[in-house]
Symmetry: C2
Subunit: 423 residues, 2 copies
Amino acid sequence: MNSFVMEGTFVFTPKKDEFVIREDSFIVVMNNKVVGIFDEVPSEYSSLKIINNKGNIIIPGLIDLHVHASQYKFRGSGMDLELLDWLNTYTFPEESKFKDASYAKKIYSAFVDELKLGPTTRACMFATLHKDATLILMDLLEASGLESYVGKINMDRNSPDYLVETTQQSLNETRNWILEALKRNYKNTKCILTPRFTPSCSDELMSGLKEIQDDYGIPLQSHLSENKKEIEWVKELEPWADNYGEAYNQFGLMGDCPKTIMAHCVSCPEDEVSLLKEKGVYVAHSPESNINISSGIAPIRKYLDKGLNVGLSTDMSGGSSPSMFRAIQFSIQASKLYWRLVDKSYSSLSTSEAFYLATKGGGSFFGKVGSFEEGFEFDAVVIDDSTIPFSSEFSVLNRVEKVIYLADNSNIKEKYVNGRSVL
Amino acid sequence: MNSFVMEGTFVFTPKKDEFVIREDSFIVVMNNKVVGIFDEVPSEYSSLKIINNKGNIIIPGLIDLHVHASQYKFRGSGMDLELLDWLNTYTFPEESKFKDASYAKKIYSAFVDELKLGPTTRACMFATLHKDATLILMDLLEASGLESYVGKINMDRNSPDYLVETTQQSLNETRNWILEALKRNYKNTKCILTPRFTPSCSDELMSGLKEIQDDYGIPLQSHLSENKKEIEWVKELEPWADNYGEAYNQFGLMGDCPKTIMAHCVSCPEDEVSLLKEKGVYVAHSPESNINISSGIAPIRKYLDKGLNVGLSTDMSGGSSPSMFRAIQFSIQASKLYWRLVDKSYSSLSTSEAFYLATKGGGSFFGKVGSFEEGFEFDAVVIDDSTIPFSSEFSVLNRVEKVIYLADNSNIKEKYVNGRSVL
């Protein structure tokens, strides 16, 4: 349990519509949690250590709600295909290599190293279908100090013979994986059920995963309505489901307790949007990936207007960058094109709204996370923007905007996850 | 005049449809120009110095056909408005500061320093309406070794009183600027006429600029059909012009001798596209800027199909990044969304096509530039991609793709402009 005071300029979004800026102030953290932000250190906290980040901008840690750790190696390449061809050509062959533990360790180590150096403090990620490799990733994440949910993928149909399980294998390995993870007694690393997507998972597998969920009470992540060809395929595979979302919901896998994350939601019909709302499902908005794989742009303004839970994600390696700074940038840019090219009734995202999605929006999946309000777990990124030319001549808000568009990992001076220093 | 041999892996696009890759080869450069690429050094060139860049990828220098040097300071901020409001709120107040020579020197120095460290070897840029500041920029560019066209902006109407000239002032200052630039005898830095855009330039000013063009034979750059409100405004201002392009053409300012660059061309009607083709005008495609200022996406596939001259540009600070790597990335991404959201008959740009636009496409504005074919001026960027994780395990083409998406200036090991080493 960590308690301290930090001096600096704090920027956060308790509500999505505006930034709260506390310039040259002091945040008090007691037992990993925010007590408050003060102009001066209150006398009752005067004995606490003061961490001096005066002049730096301090933002809540960024939350990546959807990222494929196993796709790290080929990120930034193979961007010429749509989803289903992209999976078969680039993704599945790469993922199959993770049956080799030494390969898994090599790639996952590099990925976790990069994640640690970046602005992400928490992430929900896909591994591969391989239990042992998934545990290697979890060991590395636990050692990194980051907080994460990690999923061993399930896939028992419509998959290449070099990357597929039988239904029973898939269920057994999932139970074994959960038991082994529990045995390892991770503090910051949790299991999340991960049926790849409906095309890869038989009805029997889905039913079995629901039983596992009931037994262990763990959340679930998957993909939903990313690409038109995928949606058509799901209609063929699950003709009795009114929509793609129902293809999960019919097995009880769209819920708010335990929570559910559905990545993408680019092309959801209205009844599916209503289902997402009703079930409290988290939409993991992956704007760069949706562009790179030619899926389109998710109508995030609509989802916000309807009160859906929305977080932001890189979806590396559909997205080329694992940086959540870039994800914020792309979310704003994609929303501008949605307004211009698709529907003028949906205004583009403001900077504060995009920032909110990347912090408190996705953070709420983890609890009281993603803000500097009282009682929130202290996740923070301390930014030294002095290498961004002329930044010192701008307002704090303009500096934050410049960080979103121009900063890279070299601008990150310190990082804290739930009160722990991790950099 | 420089002559040498360079060893390395050469990647370029003589035609837009495919990369030519010459792995572990030797390029012979005689008197700044490419002689050819060989598997071994031919005996007649064996006395030349060999520059060893074995293992590195060497690409033609990237050509930024449209960038606002004076907007460098606020790049990555103020992204919340459309064009006309953006100009009035952010751009014009900033540009007005360049009447102060010391301010101009401070900002332009930082901009040229960054340009020099990046992959751009040549650029066509806007300064401000201030003659002296424009000459400061030209001095700095000349010293950098880069090749450039630089424009003192003209604006005599619909401009704020702190950033406007009378028609006569504008014409006189333009002539004085050209004469002074000629006197300074720059080797790599040229004047380009730069009426800001039709709304800022009276008919009398446009006519006067044509006279100057006839007197000195210098090319011209401006903006065309970027934003819908701007296009409507031009219709009001120039009701006798059939389209925005004709508002320039009626004064003889859309030509191929001297050449013309028109930035953006997001929303050109068919007769305007025909005019661009007929006159051999260069379209400076600025995908990130067109997204950031909510203008939309230019139909580049259509322009390529019709055989227009198209180059790529950052349009910083409508674009946040002065990196042409990012401009290539955005051109591919924007074309995918155009295909998905606007018109399925226009396929997205391939990696080689986007690369071509950034090299030979824009390079032809400067002459035989942007390729490693025989007789081309040797502009080259030597890339050390060893810091991009696992890049050594990929094919050359995948490495180039990773460079486009993931490289930054730290990956640039050497840079050559017309045979000169500039880094």
